[in-house]
Amino acid sequence: MALYNEKVMDHFRNPRNVGALEDANGVGESGNAVCGDIMKVYLKIEDGIVKDVGFETFGCGSAIASSSMATELIKGKPVEEALELSNKAVVEALEGLPLRKVHCSILAEEAIKAALEDYYRKQGLPIPQKILDYKPAVEEDH
């Protein structure tokens, strides 16, 4: 059996939304180079809608696929929905990740939350409780 399923490989080989957005109004990052994964998410939010989204990722196959899928899931959605995106939804949309790669989906959720927080801060809006309360799910071995 291959390391990843076809869906994951598709998002790894042909990542959607890859690249920085010049006119982003919310930027967030998660992970660190020592662990071997960093994700950076760029959001362009207009009228409460995620009009555009981009990402840059340093990491393994599942990290790139998770960034691609997570950004796909919030693109065109109201900010409130983007706020609700969970790592579980990313794993489900990818039709599963190997157990020890689930942390990559957590990083994707974290990066999106961080980008949303940056957006609220820049707009001078109160940070939603959802973000203030957010604690990334515990990763096994990092």
Partner: protein
């Protein structure tokens, strides 16, 4: 183009090795311990294989025992020497920080049992100096175990000099030569080696079979209790077909060792030169004191697993010391021992080439790696930070 460039992980079996095995499955399938003719024929074959292996290493057949592979040979060597040392009240062992886990984990166990372990520093070139060994030897040192060639970065250690020092000081010297046998010339007598581990699948033989050379007079401890096979030092009916494959592959590899090296080494150097042209990259390990087929690089701001997956898409089978490819989520202990920063160790690539490599394949690999590294950097936030001066390059 399909290129298998992971010969340090395992090799394709040679036709001669396969053919050497078949008769011992189909016709001469007797148990070497049986007295009737097909048993005795198997026994004769086994002993001729032992002679072949001994001939390649420069020892006598009685000094070779067959094992299930390199890991078992390493374990038996270490536990035997430790046990012999303990009987004399000597409980200090010297090794290096970048041994294979078969050695490092056995040492961990010995440490728990009260042995003191000194791991020599290999930072920089990935080559330990004989002087380091000499200075580390103490009156209570019972064993020096240093690999002949490293499995990740391919660096070759000054085994003959270390052997001479150990012999002078009366310390047992074991070398894990799993990566070296069949690739570099070895003579255990000339190099004063007391114990040596080898594994068939690293030189175009079958998997799951290896051997331990143990100099006459060095006591061995059984890992496997059982019948009187292998001089009573390893119970269990011998893997006759596997051993025949091992001997045939070893003879073949040793016969053309210089010819193979003469073909592979310049292509290895071409590959190294090509990859060195990629900015912010570095060769891991000494550029000359290395196995003819080993190339190991780190590339800044990328991660090894994605590199391997994209190379696989281009038909290249390679390996990496990245945490994500290790199964343990830890970066390679070898690259860390070399002194590489963790984030750099994640971006490593090992290409290990064999006799069938061509210049066309080397040039294809250089191009493929260059393209994949450039692509992964183009989507890497670390690379952006480096470009924008928000982060300092580690590899200049």
């Amino acid at each position: 183009m399909k290129i298998y460039a992971d010969n340090a992980a395992t090799t394709r079996m040679s036709r001669r090795a396969i053919e050497a095995m078949i008769p011992y499955m189909e016709e001469v399938y007797g148990n070497p311990s049986s007295l009737y003719s097909i048993g005795q024929e198997a026994k004769d074959a086994l002993e001729s294989a032992r002679e072949t292996v001994a001939g390649c290493l420069g020892c006598s057949p009685g000094e070779i025992i067959f094992t299930s592979g390199g890991s078992e040979a390493d374990n038996q060597a270490l536990f035997s020497a430790a046990s012999a040392g303990e009987r004399k009240g000597k409980k200090h062992i010297i090794s290096t920080a970048f041994e294979h886990h078969a050695v490092l984990h056995a040492l961990k166990r010995l440490e728990k049992e009260g042995f003191e372990i000194t791991l020599l520093d290999v930072s920089g070139s990935g080559v330990v100096s004989p002087k380091q060994v000499e200075e580390a030897i103490r009156p209570d040192t019972c064993l020096v175990t240093i690999m002949y060639a490293n499995n990740e970065i391919g660096t070759i250690q000054p085994i003959a000099e270390i052997g001479r020092i150990c012999r002078e000081k009366g310390v047992t010297f074991h070398t894990d030569a799993v990566q070296a046998v069949g690739h570099v010339n070895i003579n255990v007598k000339d190099e004063n080696i007391d114990m040596l581990s080898l594994s068939a699948h690293k030189f175009h033989g079958p998997k799951g079979v290896g051997a331990l050379y143990c100099r006459k007079g060095i006591p061995l401890l059984n890992l496997i209790e059982g019948g009187a096979q292998e001089g009573g030092k390893r119970g269990g009916t011998e893997n006759v077909p596997g051993i025949m494959g091992l001997a045939a592959a070893m003879q073949e590899a040793c016969d053309k060792i210089d010819e193979s090296a003469a073909h592979i080494t310049p292509l290895r150097d071409r590959l190294i030169e090509g990859l060195e042209r990629i900015p912010h990259s570095i060769l891991n390990g000494d550029c000359k004191k290395r196995l003819p087929g080993n190339v190991n690089f780190c590339f800044e701001a990328i991660e090894g697993e994605s590199l391997l997956l994209l190379l696989d898409d281009k038909g290249i089978s390679a390996s990496s010391g990245s945490a994500c490819t290790s199964g343990s989520l830890h970066a390679s202990h070898v690259l860390l021992a070399l002194g590489r920063a963790v984030e750099i160790a994640h971006g490593s690539l090992r290409l290990s080439i064999a006799e069938d490599i061509t210049q066309e394949q080397v040039d294809y690999m250089i191009k493929a790696v260059d393209e994949v590294v450039a692509y992964l950097r183009s989507i890497s936030p670390v690379w952006r930070d480096l470009q924008e001066g928000k982060r300092e390059f580690i590899l200049k």
